[in-house]
């Protein structure tokens, strides 16, 4: 049993989201997306609530949550910088760009700067392979990213 009592707002919002989406066929992914959209991550307190409402076991819900790369257990930084690490971007210097980003931010992939400003994440393909290397800052796409562009992106994210 969970020894933590879910916070009222988390439970309330989760119930509202589940109520809104449970009529969909296969509602679990849409629900998890919406919860992450709402809170910026998937608070673990949500999972038993979802499980109860969808008549699933908590293990099943946790299993789905943990399977997908997108869903976070903890809040991200204020900005999320994703760098494409796939082959087309590799062919255009993506690896060097990634090293540079790590140095500029002082963090590795999957980490957040100590001031909570930026989370750095790898992404495997943004579909911008014809104008590599590419990046995404808070959902906004950038292509043919060179060293100067990267510095500008990092500066923007740091603000």
């Amino acid at each position: 049993m969970n020894i933590h009592q879910p916070r009222a707002d988390v439970t309330g919002r989760t119930l509202a989201i589940v109520g809104e989406l449970k009529g969909l066929e296969g509602p679990l992914l849409p629900i998890l997306h919406e919860i992450q959209h709402e809170f910026g991550y998937v608070p673990q307190d949500c999972l038993p609530v979802i499980a109860r409402e969808l008549n699933l076991s908590r293990a099943e819900v946790y299993g789905v949550f943990s399977f997908y790369h997108d869903f976070r257990e903890h809040p991200a930084g204020r900005h999320v910088l994703k760098l494409c690490r796939a082959e087309a971007c590799q062919s255009m210097g993506g690896d060097q760009l990634a090293e540079r980003a790590k140095r500029l931010l002082g963090i590795d992939f999957h980490e957040t700067t100590p001031d909570g400003a930026v989370t750095l994440e790898p992404v495997y393909c943004l579909g911008l392979c014809s104008c590599a290397p590419s990046a995404m800052l808070d959902g906004e796409v950038h292509a043919r990213v060179d060293a100067d562009d990267l510095e500008a992106l990092v500066a923007e994210a740091r603000r």
Binding site: D70, L126, S130
Partner: protein, 521 residues
């Protein structure tokens, strides 16, 4: 003299946006207003000439004139040069249709992409849209299936399975509830054709899915796409609303009395969900774990119901087949690969973008002539065709024609027809290691060869790189690839050996010190 509002086209495709198209559109809007010019801006899809994005076009009596790549700071000088009447400028590319990269193509599936306003159903109709669906609703389901079968259309996701046969299986399957699932989980590096269709001509996909539904008795469709494609998701969702409001979707498709509706679903960053059975599990709200086949999805697919699962490009190619006839489509191509294929030229290449052409074009042609060689100006070392699970081909294999069987005969695969070009600075051992690393990150974990094999593969590649018993470890890597190829449940573990083995075979020097014996090319 009457004046007509001039149409200026500035793409809304993600590639154009990533290169500043929104800034260009804003600057254009402000500048045309400030100058009192009678112009309106249309946000079209991309023509696929990505090295020229953002590609701005203006409608003139002689046809559309193109400018690119345009930056926001170029707008003033473009207008000074008379852009609204197709005036000359350093960035002027002449008539769009005459640009060789475009002129050499055979655009069937992408006929409207980049041409029309993607969210204008009137534009869509004016450019031949909905004619295929109109024809289909007047036909018996079996006749639609027969027409698609006769066209020779094969699955463009990579497997190349005949689309008509798949539909026939679903049509004949017993069941009151059937589904059409569009696999838009385009995760392969080097591919963006699905994204371009969803952003540039979403109604063609809706039309293709509606035809598929009417042909098989399915009344519900899902487009499963990637969270990495926010623009495609937004455009698709909006297009579905528009189609529903216009009666293209709903309880009576185009007044036929036959029902079909659909929705967009978003994945959550798992590459393996591009595998059809993992995708179905994900749609059902489960972990994206691969299912053993049989049962085939056509018999027991989504929620155990008979399900057509087709790639975006397969479905988007159906409307023209139903409009122009099976023979029209089948007359393009070579061997058993009929029709056209949208080749995506990406990576280190000068003229990058989407090139739709009949099957049969030689690989080298797309890279050297159409692609213009590398962007870096250095020699081409290798090209990877078909995404992270596709083989690396050296120049010696550049005569391979785009044909499912021809690629298979050379231990490669067309996949989703993406090409990633690498120059001579590429380290093929590193690329082989990445293939294993990627498989390890993305493995669903169900079968051992993929789950464990990929991690062992990374370790063995590292040992070779470190010079630890290189000969023994190369043999071990080849053996491991053999196990993964034949022992994995799906293409992720089963095809990861393609890039690894091809890298070892064709680029033995990168796996030094001792070159492989079988590498004599």
């Amino acid at each position: 003299m009457t004046t007509m509002t001039t149409k200026i086209y500035i793409p809304r495709d993600a590639a154009a946006l990533a290169l500043g198209a929104d800034k260009v559109a804003k600057a254009m809007e402000e500048a045309t207003a400030a100058r009192g010019l009678d112009a309106t801006i249309v946000r079209n899809g991309s023509r696929g000439l990505h090295w020229l994005e953002p590609l701005v076009e203006v409608e003139t009596p002689e046809g559309r004139v193109a400018y690119g790549p345009v930056k926001a700071r170029d707008v003033a000088s473009l207008l000074d040069a008379g852009l609204v009447t197709g005036g000359n400028h350093a960035l002027c590319l002449g008539k769009t249709e005459d640009i060789p990269f475009l002129k050499q193509q055979t655009r069937l599936t992408f006929a409207r992409c980049g041409v029309i306003d993607p969210l204008s159903l009137d534009d869509y109709r004016a450019h031949g849209g909905l004619r295929g669906l109109q024809n289909a609703i007047a036909m018996e389901p079996m006749a639609i299936v027969a027409q698609v079968t006769d066209s020779g259309l094969r699955g463009r996701g990579g497997a190349g399975f005949p689309t008509g046969i798949k539909w026939k299986t679903v049509l004949e399957a017993a069941g009151t509830r059937k589904y059409i699932v569009c696999n838009a989980d385009e995760g392969d590096s080097g591919t963006f054709a699905d994204r371009m269709i969803m952003e540039g001509d979403p109604f063609v996909l809706i039309e293709g899915m509606a035809i598929s539904g009417i042909a098989t008795g399915a009344t519900k469709g899902f487009i499963y796409t990637r969270s990495e494609y926010p623009h495609a998701i937004a455009t698709m969702a909006e297009a579905i609303e528009i189609a529903r409001a216009a009666g293209v979707l709903g309880p009576s498709v185009l007044g036929s009395g036959r029902a079909f509706d659909m929705e967009v679903r978003t994945g959550a960053g798992a590459y393996v969900c591009g595998e059809e059975t993992a995708l179905l599990n994900s749609l059902e709200g489960k972990r994206g774990i691969v299912r053993a086949k049989p049962p085939l999805p056509a018999h027991k697919g989504l929620f155990d119901c008979p399900t057509v699962i087709n790639n975006v490009i397969s479905l988007a190619s159906v409307p023209i087949i139903m409009d122009r006839g099976a023979a029209f489509y089948r007359d393009f191509g070579m061997g058993r690969s009929r029709g056209t294929i949208p080749i995506q030229i990406a990576g280190n290449v000068k003229h990058s973008g989407l090139f739709e052409t009949a099957f049969g074009l030689a690989l080298g042609e797309t890279i050297d002539h159409i692609g213009g060689g590398t962007a870096s100006g250095r020699p081409v070392k290798a090209v990877q065709v078909g995404g992270p699970l596709g083989a690396y081909f050296p120049r010696a294999l550049f005569d391979t024609p785009f044909d499912y069987e021809a690629f298979a005969a050379r231990d490669g695969l067309i996949g989703h027809a993406g090409i990633v070009v690498f120059d001579d600075t590429a380290d093929m051992l590193k690329q082989a290691r990445f293939a294993m690393e990627f498989c390890a990150i993305e493995s669903c974990g169900k079968c051992t060869p993929c789950r464990i094999g990929s991690t062992r593969g990374v370790e063995v590649a590292d040992k070779i790189a470190a010079g630890i018993e290189p000969e023994k470890n190369r043999e071990l890597l080849a053996d491991l690839c053999n196990t993964m190829k034949f022992g994995s449940l799906c293409a992720l573990g089963g095809f990861t050996p393609y890039p690894v083995v091809s890298a070892m075979t064709h680029f033995p020097d990168d796996f030094k010190p001792a070159p492989l014996v079988e590498a004599a090319e």
